[in-house]
Symmetry: C2
Subunit: 153 residues, 2 copies
């Protein structure tokens, strides 16, 4: 290997070992699969579960506000909600401001949430126990810091 090629190879090692987005995405894939499996009996996907939770917490809210909360592109949210509407978990109604659409949980949506919560708790407990509470809280804090850091500007 030439000196230049060696340099590039070393940089690649650095990427694999320390790249934030590489490791974060990898962990995201792994953990998503774990929670997807856990939530499957409820009929909710991870994304749908978290969206329902968010709507339950904030109450009926507009798409843009929900997207901002989820740190999700607005158009991504539109597509996700469309699917959830088709499945009957939510509906959207026009707001007072006629440009807005307000997201509302349906009864089936609330029921699915109720079914999913114990499944989530079990999965969550497994992860927390395996990682250790201290480590888990540490990671959570770091993830939140990362989000606000990138979201800030």
């Amino acid at each position: 290997m030439s000196e230049k090629e060696q340099k590039i190879f070393d940089k690649c090692r650095q990427v694999a070992q320390s790249c934030a987005v590489f490791n974060l995405r990898k962990a995201s894939r792994a953990l998503t699969q774990f929670y997807e499996t856990a939530l499957r009996p409820s009929g909710l996907r991870v994304t749908q579960f978290t969206l329902i939770v968010a709507v339950r917490l904030f109450g009926s809210t507009t798409i843009s506000r929900l997207a901002d909360t989820m740190v999700m592109d607005r158009t991504t949210l539109t597509r996700n909600l469309k699917l959830m509407e088709k499945k009957g978990f939510i509906t959207t109604i026009p707001g007072e401001d006629r440009r807005e659409r307000v997201v509302v949980l349906t009864e089936p949506g609330k029921e699915s949430l109720e079914n999913a919560l114990p499944l989530w708790e079990k999965a969550q407990r497994e992860i927390v126990d395996a990682l250790g509470h201290r480590r888990f809280d540490e990671m959570l804090a770091n993830l939140m810091a990362t989000v606000s850091l990138v979201k800030a500007p």
Copy 2:
């Protein structure tokens, strides 16, 4: 709110505040956008960049092995590679074992990697500096622990 509804509401708060997959996916979305923007001039998407890095490190390798390394579903990798082949970054050739396909970097692929590396370095430095080295390393370790934890079984 009934007592039961209050209980569900409290659980939802718990999910928002502490759910591993919720916070991990949120951070993943945020950080992905940051790195996508940084890498854009190179013509590589984040996924493509990390895949090229992996192939550069491991040398030509099969799809299954690469998928395992990336903690990525094999069929996901197939689709990602198809795209990268169309764009000319890689090719695949049959292995000695005729069931296997071996992934090989092309010259344009290597060039794109070379262009992307300084862009990655800049983005990475920004994140590490903003989070602080100690915090960053801590997060990295925790992410890796999470991956091996979920991957183990």
